[in-house]
Symmetry: C2
Subunit: 284 residues, 2 copies
């Protein structure tokens, strides 16, 4: 019977730290503010936005929305990003992706000021993740995985960590963050041979496979910590992870549920980054 690593417990602790920082900022006359740039009306974006705005409200962080039509031109989008860059009242920016296909997403990402890049999409932030330096911010999802490990006191030093997935939003940054935490890190992906055997060796298994329930019984070993990054909708219309929870739960030592795991921490990480961006600018 595995321990369930609950996102809400991590979030509660994180929120306390964020609130304390917001207090310090308000004393210094700073009102930490998230700018949201959304192009079009995708359901996923709107739902995440709603969650982020609610969390900001709870934590005393203001929000400014920049809502652009789905057929916005590249020039209009870049002009909006530059406006947000210049606006000193905005400390961090969330820009929803993927952008509509007619837009140059890479150029849009690079147009953003790395100091306001609270979701790790600029080159500046990627360098920070790769080198382990404080430059920009890491993407929120792998950071949420680290917050879960930290909160539950799971020391990574000398542990074998296996990451499934090599994307720039989860797999690669998670691997870099685990190396920084002194884990021996293995990155698996679609070309990995006998992935279950590789994963059974893991003390810590971070799953960002991107497909519902593909990580099942043969992947697990007793005592493992399993962090499931996947968010999928199954045939019954329910949210589920990339891990088959009912296979993992009787074997492993600890596991994050979906929903209620990594995803629930991500929003607080985002707001935390906005507050940290404001703190950095104040030199606090």
């Amino acid at each position: 019977m595995a321990q369930t690593l609950l996102g809400k417990e991590v979030t509660a602790a994180l929120n306390e730290r964020i609130k304390a920082d917001v207090e310090k900022l308000k004393v210094a006359g700073v009102n930490p503010t998230l700018g949201i740039i959304r192009v079009g009306e995708r359901g996923d974006d709107i739902s995440y936005e709603r969650g982020a705005m609610k969390r900001c409200d709870t934590l005393g962080v203001a929000v400014k929305q920049y809502l652009l039509p789905a057929d916005v031109t590249q020039e209009q989008l870049i002009a909006t990003i530059e406006e947000v860059n210049k606006d000193d009242s905005i400390h961090g920016v969330l820009m929803f992706r993927p952008l509509p296909k007619h837009l140059d997403e890479e150029a849009a990402c690079q147009a953003l000021d790395p100091e306001k890049d609270v979701d790790g999409i600029t080159d500046g932030s990627m360098v920070g993740v790769f080198t382990g330096q404080k430059k920009g911010f890491p993407p929120c999802t792998p950071q949420a995985c680290m917050e879960i490990l930290d909160h539950y006191g799971i020391d990574c030093t000398g542990k074998k960590a296996v990451v499934i997935g090599r994307s720039l939003v989860v797999g690669k940054p998670a691997a870099m963050m685990l190396i920084k935490k002194n884990a021996t890190v293995t990155v698996c992906h679609t070309k990995t041979v006998d992935m279950p055997a590789v994963c059974r060796e893991a003390d810590i298994l971070i799953v960002a496979a991107g497909r519902a329930g593909v990580v099942d019984k043969p992947y697990f070993a007793p005592g493992q910590v399993v962090i499931d990054v996947g968010i999928n909708v199954n045939a019954e219309g329910k949210l589920c992870g990339d891990v088959k929870f009912e296979d993992a739960e009787p074997i492993v030592g600890a596991i994050t549920p979906v929903p209620g795991g990594v995803g629930s921490v991500t929003t607080s990480v985002l707001v935390g980054h906005v507050v940290e961006a404001a703190m950095r600018r104040q030199g606090l």
Copy 2:
């Protein structure tokens, strides 16, 4: 009895490709040129510089030296870098490091134009390595490891690759490059527990431990490809690698010697990058 992976064979093939590119550039009226910035008179730097200049000469690449005194100020160094950035006749720049302690090395690295950064020291180049995009250039040493694998037809797809070392000049970029080549990649370092057991699992083992002969018999398994990045001087004053060659050689499938392995390829990779920088600028 392992196959010896000879740097000179890799270099010979690489040089042919470089010469063909230099020909194309000369037809287009471009004289590919390496700028060398050296502060002080360190023996290691001078010896590497001599090798690089000789290789440039052989391959038809010009060299401009910027030799600064060991007590140069940060302002003078930055002014030199800016001069080199602006000089259209220079396509790639090698700046020796470590710089003397009174200088801000990070600021000096970032002052360099990433398009001329043929040794992977700028943020722009690091982003290219991390994302797998063509931005800047990877550091020459891990690139030399990949050239050896490619030249000897060693397909990485689905193979287990283990990298010993997590530095920004070898370990981390080598790991990223192996992930791009579809290997399942594990990064080991000083905090790894039972490193020999991890390494015995490797099909491809890249060793950048930074200490003479520390990788010995218990690390090896039959059929492995071992790439030794180390360059050390042993008690008898002879060059040796991080791998105990006489331990590895009877067990593994293939191995690079030291000297005559990775190190001998690095200089051609550097010159190749200068030529590629010139090709990119010409749109060739």
